[in-house]
């Protein structure tokens, strides 16, 4: 039997290396200046968050009452606050708080959202409908209101319960009210953050599971697990990466907003939000107390937003043209 000769020169040259979609996207991302700038700032902030304690000349708690409300100088890059604490050190530690909150909250939200969304999309039916009811319900409540209500109503009883447990067991763990803060802050923020991920992933799965290559995989006899892992998830993950990148920035802003309102991370743990809140009271006299944390928060938000836009263009090249 002879094979029909085919002209194969049309699309692929011999010497060109093969290009996967991921590598292709990475090259497109690197060509986008704003995205690279965003990525650089994000990496810098992450570096600061991780190595903060080795970068700051002062402890964020150390008060120097002889040097209160100083303007920025070489000794105190961002000046000092009303208790004489070094603002630069506090901003650095605030970066830590922001990253921890953003990463933990986004991680919880992504795990909940992706699991529920993927299952809703894949299995459909009643499960799908119930999940979508919950997302619609959660999204219909104003975010700030929900978080404020949760914190206001649960903080006192949980703290009281912890105190009671401490009295009963004398286990020092129950004295650490910081855990209550974390539980409530992370929990309530994750609670309002997961629905968009669930919807996004569900929509992706719905559109992908009907594509011929998935039907082909079923025709090959592949198991549901293999089809999900090799066919659906890798093709659904692009928009999710974009959404997570934007979501990290949003989570930082949310955390600041809650700290600003006094329902977030509690003082003396520095957070950009509670620093802005403190700074706002005296900004006419000591503008640097407001400017420093606000500028860093703004920088972080813009960086994540540029990176997210760049990722979107890189991963969905057809949509950006």
């Amino acid at each position: 039997m002879t094979m029909t000769p085919v002209n194969l020169s049309s699309t692929v040259a011999d010497d060109e290396p093969p290009v996967s979609l991921w590598r292709d996207a990475w090259h497109r991302l690197l060509r986008n200046k704003l995205a690279v700038a965003g990525l650089a700032v994000v990496i810098l902030l992450a570096f600061v968050a991780v190595f903060g304690p080795w970068l700051t000349p002062y402890d964020f708690l150390t008060q120097d009452l002889s040097a209160r409300n100083q303007a920025p100088s070489l000794a105190h890059l961002f000046g000092t606050d009303d208790l004489g604490r070094d603002v630069f050190s506090r901003v650095v530690y605030g970066t830590r708080t922001a990253f921890v909150v953003a990463i933990v909250v986004t991680a919880i939200a992504v795990v909940i959202g992706v699991t529920l969304g993927a299952m809703a999309g894949f299995f459909g039916g009643m499960f799908d409908r119930v999940v979508m009811w919950f997302t619609d319900m959660t999204m219909s409540v104003p975010n700030l209101l929900l978080v404020v209500v949760i914190n206001a109503s649960l903080k006192t009883p949980i703290t009281a319960w912890m105190e009671a447990r401490y009295q009963a067991t004398l286990n020092p763990f129950y004295r650490e009210t910081i855990w209550v803060d974390f539980l409530l802050v992370f929990g309530s923020m994750a609670l309002i953050s997961w629905p968009p991920y669930a919807r996004l992933v569900r929509a992706q799965v719905l559109s992908i599971r009907g594509r011929p290559y998935v039907t082909a995989a079923r025709a090959l006899g592949l198991t549901n697990r293999l089809i999900l892992m090799r066919y659906i998830v890798p093709n659904a993950i692009g928009p999710l990466i974009v959404s997570v990148s934007a979501g990290l920035g949003t989570a930082m802003v949310l955390e600041s907003a809650f700290s600003f309102l006094g329902v977030g991370v509690n003082p003396p743990t520095p957070s950009w939000g509670n620093m802005i809140s403190d700074g706002l009271r005296v900004w006419q006299h000591y503008p640097h107390l407001l400017a420093a944390p606000a500028a860093v928060l703004g920088l972080a938000t813009v960086a994540f937003s540029f990176l997210g836009d760049g990722l979107n263009d890189a991963l969905n090249p057809r949509g950006s043209k």
Binding site: T2, P5, L8, V12, V19, S20, A216, L220
Partner: protein, 330 residues
């Protein structure tokens, strides 16, 4: 032709239930495939033709148990495969493959060609990991692609090349039977010819059996052993290629064939065309009796009430039309 069919389709029915209205308050049934029976013999190419939406693709999908049949049987190797769950279906999946219409969405964009073709081999344990590159190159050679394509991603290939990869993926399972679901319809005409010749070469080399779903009658005439004509979810006529093209019995088949242009301009001038009026009725509310009676030039009162029987008028020539019996009788 072997006496015992490779696949026996008996009274296959596929209905879809859809929700209509702003709130999905009304249920309706799409009669996509309704009581279709035919045999597929080993080594043949059985073509299914018909207008869009007549149920030919659904027949292919239901036959492979990719969509659950509403009722009916598909007998393959003594087993009614449409009643099997996914786990018990798995061993049969290897032998029954499919090639799709759209070459751009038929391959997973995140997998290299080598992975696409190699996956079924490893999954069905048809070769060891060490033998895999060799197997993949042989399969790519079978479909006329160089071995270096194994490193490529689908988006680097042209439509025709992707369709070759899709055929190689189906071949990787060492199947007996392949459903070609409009496998060439989305390609350029020159590429269509290449892919058809490739399919014919492979059929000869591996003794494959095809169910060829198409709407291009010129192509069907070129490659088929037998041809089935479908209309609105029912089989109108099924015969060998020679019988069907030289002596079409069903008025719908005649209308279809008269729509094929002649290459010879002299013949084209004298060609008798029979133009059907009206549209295909909705499969949500198919006409009672013979489904074709609303457009049939020779419809009788009986056609509006009684579903014509599916009968073999000449050996190998099946038709469902009330008028055919009368013609031969009269």
């Amino acid at each position: 032709m072997a006496a015992e069919p490779l696949i026996k389709v008996e009274n296959l029915v596929k209905h879809f239930v859809v929700r209509l209205g702003a709130f999905g308050e009304r249920g309706a049934t799409v009669y996509a495939v309704d009581d279709v029976s035919f045999d597929i013999f080993a080594g043949e190419t059985l073509s299914l033709v018909g207008e869009s939406g007549c149920g030919k693709s659904t027949t292919g999908f239901t036959l492979l148990n990719l969509q659950k049949a509403t009722s009916g049987k598909v007998i393959f190797q003594g087993e009614n495969i449409v009643s099997l769950d996914e786990k018990r279906m798995r061993p049969y999946r290897r032998e029954l493959q499919i090639v799709f219409q759209d070459p751009y969405s038929t391959l997973n964009p995140r997998m290299t060609i080598g992975e696409v073709v190699g996956e079924p081999i490893l999954f069905h344990k048809l070769a060891t990991k060490a033998e895999l590159p060799e197997c993949v190159s042989r399969l790519l050679a079978d479909v006329g692609l160089p071995a270096r394509f194994a490193q490529r991603y689908p988006h680097e290939l042209s439509g025709g090349q992707r369709q070759r990869v899709a055929i190689a993926r189906a071949l990787a399972c060492q199947p007996k039977f392949i459903v070609c679901d409009e496998a060439i319809s989305a390609l350029d005409v020159s590429v269509q010819a290449q892919i058809i010749n490739l399919l014919l070469d492979l059929q000869e080399k591996y003794g494959l059996t095809y169910l060829f779903i198409a709407h291009d009658l010129a192509v069907v005439r070129h490659i088929s052993t037998r041809v089935g004509v479908m209309y609105l979810g029912r089989m109108a006529e099924l015969a060998t290629r020679e019988q069907l093209f030289s002596n079409p019995l069903h008025p719908y088949t005649r209308a279809l064939l008269s729509a094929v242009p002649e290459a010879d301009p002299e013949l084209e001038k004298t060609r008798q065309r029979q133009i059907l009026t009206g549209d295909v009725p909705s499969p949500l509310a198919p006409p009672a009796g013979c489904r074709f009676h609303t457009r049939c030039p020779i419809a009788m009162d009986k056609c509006k009430a009684v579903v014509p029987e599916w009968r073999e008028v000449v050996p190998g020539h099946h038709v469902s039309c009330h008028a055919v019996g009368m013609e031969t009788a009269g």
